[in-house]
Symmetry: T
Subunit: 155 residues, 12 copies
């Protein structure tokens, strides 16, 4: 089967593809982590944090689709299978069992900070090779940084 013909030259395609695949792993794992916390949460602020976490899930799922479809649009196969995510994610993982609300808020704040740092690198990296990909990463970063502030403000 022939690859999708990319609108980008090979070098640019390679850089943008890696940025997008890395973002995909970050965002899938973020959605799984946020759901894990959403379900196992306890504490006085349960209701608010429980619902806030679903905003993270929605953001992460919307972002997954955007980055994966951008990857294939430039001729790079996105890989979002369970094994790939588990093996390549650089995100800190939650403990099993009940999770206290304040610990969840701190963990999500930290997790978002780490993902944002990687998005910042990808934004720099894609500036030259593919401003279209860069523009997508900027848009997602803005939402991640907004949520990072909101979780941080609760600590």
């Amino acid at each position: 089967m022939a690859a999708i013909k990319s609108p980008l030259p090979d070098d640019a395609q390679k850089v943008a593809g890696e940025a997008l695949q890395g973002s995909l792993i970050d965002l899938i794992d973020l959605s799984l982590t946020a759901k894990q916390a959403h379900w196992n949460l306890t504490g006085r602020n349960f209701k608010v944090v429980h619902e806030h976490l679903d905003e993270i899930v929605a953001l992460a799922r919307g972002g997954q689709d955007d980055v994966a479809e951008r990857a294939v649009a430039i001729g790079v196969n996105p890989d979002g299978r369970a094994r790939t995510v588990a093996d390549r994610t650089k995100n800190p993982q939650l403990e099993a069992g009940y999770l206290a609300d304040d610990k969840v808020v701190a963990a999500i704040t930290d997790l978002l900070a780490q993902i944002i740092a990687r998005f910042r690198e990808r934004i720099t990296a894609t500036d030259e090779p593919d401003p279209v990909t860069q523009d997508l990463l900027i848009a997602i970063a803005r939402e991640l940084e907004k949520q990072h502030w909101m979780f941080q403000a609760q600590t």
Copy 2:
């Protein structure tokens, strides 16, 4: 942290909890698999299958939330972290790279058949211990079997 107090006796809780945790793994992996196919698909029927796969994703994501929240409601912690899903899933996994539409249809048909078989066992197992959990599993099974027919009808 004290566990959520279950409305079920211990035995019933254990059986229902295992059924729900197993269903959770099935459904998370199903959603990741369907998204992987959604993104890497090629072939004359691309548009239709691409959109059909998102119906599977929506079904699987809705089901995840229902079974995980049911688990915690009976005092059992659901575990839907990336590593847990990757290690415990019994579903066959897709190849990396482009995926031809007819192969995807066959793979999803087969995957749904396997998940349905496990749901059938869980429905039998939970009948006595917890009819509330059983009723939820029946509702999800009906949707899975409907999609199983629809994918199979295309082969």
Copy 3:
């Protein structure tokens, strides 16, 4: 053309398939009967009964789709052709021409009672072989019994 592969063993498939095909005939004929009354109605309560009959039509049409798609999902071909419905229906049929509102209310009450009796038998019959089919029949029966009460309350 190969049949759709059923998630049920042969015996269960046969019992559930017959229950579903019988329900399909009941529900198609119910929708045609209710429309016939909807159009030919007269009497002081015309407006209310005219609109109430369309609730029956909506219920019957929604139910048709559910039972027919459930049938094919378990590998049994539903048959809802005009000739099949006319020949196999066990429902009492309306007279041609204008229909007085009180007679329509009585006729629909009676018709629903007969269909409900058959649904009750099918619910019993499918309990063991296919709880998924049974659950669908229970859901439809609940709506039929609710409408049965509402029509009966007007007599």
Copy 4:
């Protein structure tokens, strides 16, 4: 029970009434046929044709109500009971069992062509006696001819 008093003279009422009753049989049988195909369909184009058939069902059901209510508005009792439809329909009938997608597309194309021919005759017949009925039949014919093109274009 006295008949609804018609706004039309007897001759005009008779012609328009026959056109409407004939259309009613056509449209009820069309809806039953399209549902039968919707349920028993197989083939690579299953999903698209399955959904396309429901557009036919919606068109046929909307048209049924319009022609039947037009009939009674001019003092003619519409008859849409199962037995009447089965006995009087002139439409070719589908086989029982699974139906391949390309055969369904051909069958619906042919069926629509036959119904359209009868609608064309009714439009001519009602021009003089009742332009209000004619206008309704023209509106339905336009939708039938549009669908006829769409099914035909797939063959």
Copy 5:
């Protein structure tokens, strides 16, 4: 102030203009009559007839706008002032004070029959001079005849 330039020759404009002005008076008076009954109604069927009358009001108001704007579009000034309506209406008028539901149903049935007769004449008259105006009158007539049947069916 110069008149709106009509797309019709003078003869056609005159015929169509008279048909539209006559329809305007009919429809404004119909809306006022239906509201009068809506407010002063009594009787066991109060609620149903009260709401049904508002369907007449909506139909009459929608029709007013359509015929008046059609008139000005062909260069004829519509006149819908209170005095004009009171002086030129040919409709029978309701008594002041409370109105029993069955009498209202009979009165509206009769009123609709008279308006329909005039619309039928206008449809014939405009066929040659302006098929665009005729098409509009046919559409309104269809709705009037539908309501005529519905009110008549209650008597």
Copy 6:
């Protein structure tokens, strides 16, 4: 037929009833006048004034229903028939034929000013006898005064 039993004593009923019947005539005539202008309007500001007049129509129609239903709720029969409106309205009437936009704006401004003056009197009159009726009149007056400003601002 017995009158609706009023929640008000006779004196209060009489005062409130007259205020409401007067308001009804004002509002029906306002809606007919605004529609007349809506249809026969010309001038550079046609589009804006044409649409603005429909806001007046909507306000007047909503107000009609409220005051008429309030009248009957206190046991007073509202009278909104064409002849009654034509005979009792105190509003200045529009000329027949085309109406220039600036003249319409001036006429509506003046018309609203006159209606507002009468509403102000009714608000004073009903304060003691029926604060419920007064509250309704205040609410309508607020909308009338808002539109009065908006039309006046254009002159």
Copy 7:
């Protein structure tokens, strides 16, 4: 726990608080009564009255929330517990068992008349001490009186 600090002086708070608490009992009991009739109704007008009663329920429930939240906003604790409602309600109570439609219409008419009389007293009482509370009671009274007319018109 300190009380909510009221924007009203003590005397005014006391009068307004009693008016609101009395209204709360009236409205909760009205909603329970209307539901009781909604469920146990029989008779030819079942469908219409059944649905009309739910308009009463919606009105009563909306009103409950408004008066209770107004009470606490002025520093008075509303009490809407089952025991309080049962002991303090002044409304006539329905019989157990089936309820004929005409008797229900009469009973609701009577019940509304009694509640309206008490609202009228509260409107007078709160005029001076708290016009904000009064305005709320007037708004609810208008709706109650509108429904009172509608039920009464059916008798």
Copy 8:
């Protein structure tokens, strides 16, 4: 007045009827209790708990209608009058006056646990006599248990 004719034999009707009447009392009292807390709540988590309690009210009100209409559909008169609820409820009652948020969360958790225990018994009791009633009780129990977890998680 003749009773509604039940689709159930007498024994089954009796068991199902008692289960439904018991559930009705539970759910009405639950809605009144949750509203009482909704209005009198204080504490740092006021806003969240205030809104959360309205989810309980919505659930309890929806459930009331379902169980009461199910009761009458099987020929048993539901009784939801204020006196009946006050006398027969087994739920612990709230204190009058302000209620601290943490105490409310604990009280609702406890209250839901007691209601759930009774629903569990009713689910067991109705399994044989009426699976349609049982299915309804299961559906409500699932929602109650979900809310029970959510309130419990906050303690």
Copy 9:
């Protein structure tokens, strides 16, 4: 590739096809002209005319689809390519650059008048050969004549 089989005889098809193709050119060019004016407009009435022009665009685009799909439904290929539109349009064309609002209003009035004249001819021409096509052209002509009035009224 075989042509779509027409429901019309050859002569009728030819006449209707030409009417539809002519209408298609008119409507595509109208939409391009209206957009050109929408973008390059200046003058005190900019905002109103700018938005009014988009109503023309919406009307013209909706009409394009209807006439083109009607053409292919009767077996005639519509041609709406840029070159065809540019070469065959009979409409006067706008100047490049800024366009004053009053000139635009005059130009659109004139343009609509010309298109309407051609639609009138096509309505006459298609009456006999294809009343279904005629009915579509009448519906579009009504909208064009309504807009023609509205633009003319502003001059």
Copy 10:
């Protein structure tokens, strides 16, 4: 430029105008203050208070428009420019920088109490001169007092 002609005599206009201008300053400053807190908030209850503050903003913005448009409707120019607000506001102002959630809740409670006191005075002042203005101020006061309770309940 001539002033808008007021429906009020000069004395009444002056009193109502001052009440409205004062309310305008209060409400603009309230919206700016609530937004300032919305953005700079921190603390465990960040998410809830952050969203609750936007309810205040929406209330204040809606109120601004109502009072300003009421002012101009009675011929008084509202002044809501930045300098005017800054110079005339009597509200306590927030500190710059981060704001702890409990301090914000206390500050908003206090701020609302002060604004409510002024609204209460304006309600008294406008009773005689302009009941229409008074009615508007009462409606806004009710919402302010409701929010005052909700914020106070959290302290």
Copy 11:
């Protein structure tokens, strides 16, 4: 008539203006081409491709408005008249008559690739002179590249 005063210096305006005018021609022609294919399409995948083409039309029409309004916002007159589009388009044109689905998919893929190449050049060209225009072109390019992938995936 004076030109719109641009926020850009002359050089920047010229570069951005040319990029926008070029994009306008591309997008208008794309919408006409996609509609031509939408209407004349045949083949087994007719329904899917027919609907997919309308996504292209929607994208192209939305983009037209954005680029044309951006052009005039920077003081450059957009030119989208039929003759201009026909003469300046660089896009390959479709044949007249029926178009097979696979050929259409290939043609649209190729057409999108050519348009994308020109957008890439314009994105580079506008980076320095006007980042606001560039940002708009990037957003459109992302959508074009996404559709390019989707059409390509079907070949």
Copy 12:
């Protein structure tokens, strides 16, 4: 209270923070100015300009939230208090009292031009330090420039 931890280094944070704070002042003052004109407007184009100004308000309010939340997300406290806005705004201020429509159009055109010039500088300044902030400013600038054209086109 510790500051929100920024994802930016100090230098970048400072530049972006100043750009955002400046934008915040511009946008709050723009919204207050546009509202002032919205309320005090007079002239023949009152209705259109009155509504157009609310589009400016909506744009300015949406932008305020975006820039202020972006500021705090990078650890900089936005300051949007009345005093700050009044003291720091660089925008020309409107006169008190009535404002003629043409003067308002000119004033808003000029005001937008000045704000746009500052946004252009901020876009240049933030390119290097924070492309995420820059992207937000570009998006707002595009809307401001679009409105600038629309107001300018009316002069």
